[in-house]
């Protein structure tokens, strides 16, 4: 059995693979949105004066960053039913990916907020802003500029990491590739096509990310993206 261009092109344009890719995209987006919200709340809790809130957030980040996502997914999908918590494949996949993402994103948000000059805090306070206004009007818009490059990298990572959900039979790109491989045994062709699929998705996202970063850098005339991006390996 040698390389078959026919099979390659068949998979490349197969509806089944496209379906898998689409699932990868929405699974990533949904998990990212939920994960970022969780991470944002966790970051504010981590920076709170209240030791209980801080403790909860620290524990969350410690636990989820200290264990592999694959293990978390298996526990959620296959382990929890043992104590009566039964989640479907989709719910399990989203939950696992989102909660995991939140733990990473919390640190990114915290770093972003801490990167804003202390003088900004003083100036906003002196103008009579309370915590909410200070955050909304002064701190978060500036932190966003620092958060966006690593956030983009996280999403790039999410597109690829979501393939782990195939182990709990989530019908995304890799899972569909696996199934085709089991039927036709064109293993190399189908996985190369899957790889190309991921490559296309991350490349398109890369282009979008660049535009978003440029938008947030406009008032500053400069760029922090190089530094911030380099400091956030996945």
């Amino acid at each position: 059995m040698t390389w078959s261009w026919d099979s390659f092109f068949e998979y490349m344009f197969s509806y089944y693979m496209l379906q898998g890719a689409w699932t990868t995209i929405w699974l990533s987006v949904v998990s990212m949105v939920i994960g970022c919200s969780l991470g944002f709340v966790a970051a504010l809790m981590k920076m709170s004066k209240n030791p209980v809130l801080r403790g909860i957030a620290d524990f969350y980040v410690w636990l989820w960053r200290g264990t592999p996502l694959l293990v978390q997914l298996v526990i959620i999908y296959a382990g929890l039913p043992q104590i009566g918590i039964r989640l479907g494949v989709i719910e399990s996949a989203i939950l696992g990916l989102a909660v995991n993402e939140g733990a990473y994103f919390a640190e990114i948000v915290r770093a972003g907020i801490m990167s804003v000059d202390r003088g900004q805090n003083d100036a906003a306070r002196a103008l009579g802003m309370d915590y909410r206004r200070l955050m909304r009007i002064v701190i978060l818009p500036q932190a966003t500029r620092v958060i966006i490059p690593p956030l983009g990298n996280q999403f790039n990572g999410m597109l690829k990491t979501s393939s782990l959900a195939s182990v709990i039979s989530m019908e995304e790109l890799l899972r569909h590739a696996q199934q085709l491989a089991q039927i036709e045994f064109r293993v190399l062709e189908v996985y190369i096509v899957a790889a190309i699929g991921y490559l296309i998705m991350t490349s398109v996202w890369g282009a979008i990310q660049k535009r978003i970063e440029a938008h947030y850098d406009k008032p500053f005339g400069g760029s922090v993206q190089g530094v911030a991006a380099a400091s956030m390996p996945r």
Partner: protein, 278 residues
């Protein structure tokens, strides 16, 4: 003074002990025996300062003498360890319960700060907002002023600080002197009753200092109550009613400018003047 104290006593509910006596009626800022330490470092060791309505007070002193800390305490940007600070008759940052200071909530402190404008050494303009948005942010979002009205007022303020053409510029595009003038306009937009200046010209190139001082002199002529931490002795002579020297966390000298420069009472003042006037 006694009659004024009596008059004020009726308007204030909780008074107890010597430190809790009410603030005199014509005092804009009334700091009493203020103590502040950062760790083991005693920065303010019992500072008492009274500033009347419309008065312009310049505070000088070596770095580390506590002058900036005192200013920050007046706006509750720093907490205090002991003493009382009243601004416009209100105890700043705390309520007094059984002779003890209890810190106010975030919202209450924010409300108090509306009366107090602060200009910082590093300008601290909001870099993500244009000049006009810097000026209107607080009036619109804190006071609830109509955005169009706030913009009109901001334009008037930009004329006052001589920057009418910079409305749409971002802070990064302005010189230090221009940024500091925008910062003054931003503080004035809240219509404060007192303005605090924390070394407003120390971060500026020499050729930009006068443009900022001119704005400040104008402001003093319009009757604004001002406390200015600075070593600009020219400003002191031109606009200050009193000059204060802080030394090791205490007020060493408190005199009208002529007396401060020509006949200082304290040795620390003489040494300070010898250093900066050389």
């Amino acid at each position: 003074m006694d009659t004024m104290n009596d008059q004020q006593a009726s308007t204030r509910q909780k008074t107890s002990g010597n430190a809790g006596t009410p603030s005199s009626g014509d005092l804009m800022v009334d700091a009493r025996n203020v103590h502040k330490a950062f760790g083991d470092n005693q920065v303010l060791k019992g500072v008492t300062l009274e500033v009347c309505f419309g008065e312009v007070v310049l505070i000088a002193g070596r770095s580390g003498s506590g002058k900036s800390t005192l200013l920050r305490c007046i706006d509750h940007l720093e907490t205090i360890d002991a003493g009382r600070i009243f601004v416009n008759g209100h105890l700043v940052g705390y309520s007094e319960e059984n002779g003890k200071l209890v810190e106010l909530t975030d919202k209450q402190v924010a409300f108090q700060r509306r009366d107090i404008g602060v200009v910082f050494q590093q300008f601290n303009l909001f870099p993500h907002l244009s000049v006009i948005d810097n000026i209107t942010a607080a009036p619109v979002h804190v006071l609830g002023v109509d955005p169009e009205k706030a913009r009109a007022e901001a334009r008037d303020l930009l004329v006052r600080v001589d920057l009418p053409e910079k409305e749409t510029a971002y802070p990064k595009q302005l010189s230090g002197g221009q940024q500091q003038r925008v910062a003054i306009a931003r503080a004035l937009a809240m219509k404060p009753k007192v303005m605090l200046f924390d070394e407003p010209t120390s971060a500026l190139d020499p050729e930009m200092i006068s443009e900022v001082l001119n704005v400040m002199v104008d402001l003093s002529k319009q009757g604004m109550t001002m406390i200015v931490v600075s070593h600009e002795m020219g400003f002191a002579r031109a606009a200050a009613d009193r000059v204060i020297l802080m030394h090791n966390g205490q007020i060493e000298e408190d005199a009208p400018p002529t007396e401060f420069f020509d006949a200082p009472k304290s040795e620390a003042t003489r040494q300070f003047l010898a250093k900066i006037l050389r």
